[in-house]
Symmetry: C2
Subunit: 230 residues, 2 copies
Amino acid sequence: MCDTCGCSHRPESLVQIGLPGPILARNDAAAARNRERFLRAGVLAVNVLGTPGAGKTALLEATLDALGRDVRAAVVVADLATDNDARRLRRQDVPVLGLETGTTCHLAATFLEPALARLPLDDLDLLFIENVGNLVCPALFDLGEAAKVALVSVTEGTDKPEKYPVMFQHTSAFVVSKTDLLPYVEFDTAEAGRLARRLNPAIEVIPLSAKTGEGMEGWLRWIEARRRTS
Amino acid sequence: MCDTCGCSHRPESLVQIGLPGPILARNDAAAARNRERFLRAGVLAVNVLGTPGAGKTALLEATLDALGRDVRAAVVVADLATDNDARRLRRQDVPVLGLETGTTCHLAATFLEPALARLPLDDLDLLFIENVGNLVCPALFDLGEAAKVALVSVTEGTDKPEKYPVMFQHTSAFVVSKTDLLPYVEFDTAEAGRLARRLNPAIEVIPLSAKTGEGMEGWLRWIEARRRTS
């Protein structure tokens, strides 16, 4: 059991990704360096969080398709044990870097920092960081990003913001994904939004379906507004 | 940051649930005491794990309905911040104990141990322990249960066992939930089962819909078989 995250680290997984040593102070120092690096390069970094299977990769696929060559984007994608998502995203003709975290339940700024050195940051406008699928732990680790986005799909239940408050306290946007499934499930988008705003009045609620494209324009507008203000 | 689980604990949440002190050795000692307590009482304890929104509570509601008064059941239900699930289950006329874990991303045996003292274990046949919604961390914490069950819904993608291997290495049954949504999503139940069995050849794959009742008989048979052999 390592001293970074008692719940799920195997020490060897930390060695694989070059991370010895402890916890949040170290994380925050690395996050500050990452943030400075993003600012210097003029890159908007967006940390994409959510439950396993909420559709993070599908959203990024649809986003990269929509942005086309107008925006120079790249993706860092974290996964416990596979490069499935990285392989999906590599079809999009943008730089994609897969990070296997072993049993580690979140990305940390200290994991991300050495990965950034392998990306052409100065030639990018936008970096998506797809986090490990987990609605608890990743919320607490600042990566140096400009914004956090949390995905919850309509199949997961209206009360998720209330049940996972830390995530929604830390995110700028709440993407309600898979709205194409709304006819088949009980999900109240307005109420879910209300619960999220109760925790975080500034949070933007963006319902969409990456599959049908419904609502994607709201998400693309959100990215564009962030790019203009970053 | 506490010394139990660096990723997500606020010390005050540990105080709330009466848990000072460190990590897995302490957890395993408490798990051994819980296991001994379950054996002495003749209670089958089942640890129910899965993603947020996979339908853990809905499965338990349907299960308690189906078991009726033939089996003396109770539920311990963990949640970060609400008693929503505990309130749903309390409608079932069985003892239900809600544990709020704060920002802690999993149940530990040390959390469970004091809770067990508040349940009439000697008058029970079956105890369901609904864990925090998280497909990573809870798998590593033995609670003293007889069996772990992992839920993944068909909306979450076929490759989940491969992407969250630790969970499937530690579970006796893999419940593929929300099969009523199969017509509307791309999910290959046979392939998901194959991926889970590659990690854990003994795992039982049980597709079901708690909403329509389809497949519930397989789940109830699994419980009954466990009860006979425990």
